[in-house]
């Protein structure tokens, strides 16, 4: 491996890490836009803390639990010690990954993924979870649950050692479905927001700013170039460019699918559905972005993901699973769909692969759901996870943060006079 190619490869992984970072802004904007004004500071606070907590816990334990080394190959769990410090010299450099990236590039790219997984949960439990409980959950999830799941496949664990190995290119299962199942567990343990499911039916609780939500989705798409493109784990021109194309086409088709289905179901053009449709397309292609050598397959996958979104949103509402941002539909449902699609389309398509995909996503889903459920339940019976009805009514911004997201927006002539009182 030549030094220069190593430099290029490594540079790409780092840029990809920065792009995955910006997904955190995407999630923050999307979730802020989809919650009510009174809970906006709270959701932004959670998103600001998750990235902080996520990176540090992943540094301390997560990374070495997810990539514990060859001795744990084929296993269910491993750990190689606290902290992520690069081996000296070439071992942490050109020799670390055959000239594809350095130790620290690996760490930072993986750490950004880890934090993403926890962020997925925050949207589904928004507007009613206690701040402290949520931060505790996130820390545990990023430190232990996500790394264990990741280890099964990317860390060389048992899913990677099946006869026909489970395939998950960039994490439809490992990141998205895992996060989505945890989100589902959280939404179930918490229960719905007050006033969402009433005797007279399902009530709409519109997000306070669709412009923010739209910004979030475009930023997520932008970040996904790093999420999927970086998962090539080198700057290989053929693979990275294919992944860019399949990722974009799937997202594009997701928009169109959701456009059509939401029109069929609701007879209207629901922006929030098209936005979710784009995300569904992105999540859907993530498992096999590098396998769709005919990009038309990516269009099919994304289009179906887009069709699924409105149906799934309605379904979860019928089940009284209250998910303000659609995280379960986007990440769980489309994550499962994308994982299975690897068995249906692209260069690995086939019955055996399909079965392995099913095993993989079922195992991960069950584990993520069960552990998240257990943690949320444990927090519920100990510190409590749900804010009081009164706090929920007043909003978490005032009750947990003593702040408001917007001040003086209503004042004419720019006079925020009330605050000089």
């Amino acid at each position: 491996m030549n030094e220069t190619l190593y430099t290029v490869n490594n540079l790409w992984i780092l840029i990809a890490a920065a792009l995955v970072f910006i997904m955190h802004l995407g999630f923050a904007s999307l979730e802020a836009g989809f919650v009510r004004k009174k809970n906006t500071v709270n959701i932004l606070f959670k998103n600001s803390m998750i990235i902080g907590i996520g990176l540090i816990t992943y540094y301390l334990v997560g990374f070495n639990m997810m990539y514990p080394g060859d001795v744990f190959a084929g296993g269910y769990f491993g750990f190689s010690g606290i902290g992520a410090i690069a081996p000296e010299g070439d071992a942490g450099g050109i020799a670390y990954a055959d000239g594809a990236y350095s130790y620290y590039s690996d760490f930072i790219f993986q750490a950004m993924f880890a934090a993403t997984c926890a962020t997925i949960v925050s949207g589904a439990v928004a507007e009613r979870i206690k701040l402290g409980a949520f931060l505790l959950f996130s820390a545990i999830f990023v430190a232990f649950i996500y790394p264990i799941i990741g280890m099964w496949k990317w860390g060389g664990g048992w899913l990677d050692s099946l006869d026909v190995p489970f395939y998950d290119f960039a994490g439809s299962t490992i990141v998205h479905a895992a996060g989505g199942f945890a989100a589902l567990a959280g939404a179930i343990v918490l229960g719905a927001r007050k006033g969402k499911y009433t005797k007279s039916g399902i009530k709409a609780i519109p997000g306070h700013s669709l412009p923010f939500a739209a910004v979030g989705v475009f930023l997520l798409w932008f970040g996904w170039f790093g999420f999927n493109g970086g998962s090539v784990l080198s700057a290989d021109p053929g693979n990275v460019s294919l992944v860019f194309v399949t990722t974009s086409l799937s997202a594009a088709a997701g928009a169109i699918g959701a456009f059509i289905m939401s029109y069929l179901l609701f007879k209207t053009h629901d922006l929030s559905m098209v936005l979710n449709g784009i995300l569904g397309g992105l999540v859907g292609i993530t498992a096999g972005a590098d396998l769709m050598t005919n990009p038309s397959w990516a269009i099919v996958i994304g289009f179906i993901a887009g069709l699924i979104i409105p149906v799934s949103v309605v379904f979860f509402d019928k089940m009284k699973v209250d998910d303000p941002v659609g995280a379960t539909s986007v990440h769980l449902v489309c994550g499962v769909w994308g994982t299975l699609a690897v068995g249906l389309f692209g260069t690995k398509a086939g019955w055996d692969q399909f079965i392995s995909q099913l095993i993989g996503v079922a195992a991960v889903g069950a584990f993520a759901f069960a552990t998240a459920f257990a943690i949320f339940y444990f927090l519920k019976v100990t510190v409590g996870i749900r804010v009081s009805a009164e706090h929920e009514l007043k909003g978490l911004d005032i009750t947990e943060h003593e702040m408001e997201a917007y001040s003086g927006m209503m004042d004419e002539g720019g006079q925020q006079w009330a605050f000089s009182a």
């Binding site: 039916g201 939401s262 629901d270 929030s272 409105p310 509402d317």
Partner: protein, 114 residues
């Protein structure tokens, strides 16, 4: 002195304002209100669930007038705000016991800005 209160359509606001001005009535106070009446608010839809604020948005005017102007203002507003469709709103006349202009300190009908 009387106070006229009128609840009108937002889109009739300019017309009402100009008609009043033509009659020499330039001064008034207004604010946005919401109303339940014959006309219903439009149903909205969000993520598959339909919701309906129920109310419609209206502008409320308040005009303090000397007694001799009341009739004119009353009729002028009634005409300018009329569309004939549900939702046109209403006009009230209510009593005022006393009034003071803060700047000039004048009281009673001398104090009224027209």
């Amino acid at each position: 002195m009387k106070k006229i209160e009128a609840i009108i359509r937002s889109r009739k606001f300019d017309e009402v304002k100009e008609s009043l001005a033509e009659k020499g009535i330039h001064f008034f106070t207004f604010y946005e209100v919401k109303g339940f009446g014959h006309q219903k608010g439009k149903e909205l839809s969000y993520r598959g669930a339909i919701y309906d604020a129920g109310y419609i948005a209206r502008i409320k005017l308040e005009i303090i007038l000397s007694d001799e102007f009341v009739e004119t203002a009353y009729e002028t507003i009634a005409k300018a705000a009329h569309t004939g469709e549900n939702g046109d709103g209403l006009i009230l006349v209510t009593p005022v016991l006393s009034i003071k202009n803060i700047r000039s300190g004048l009281e009673g009908s001398k104090s009224i800005n027209i």
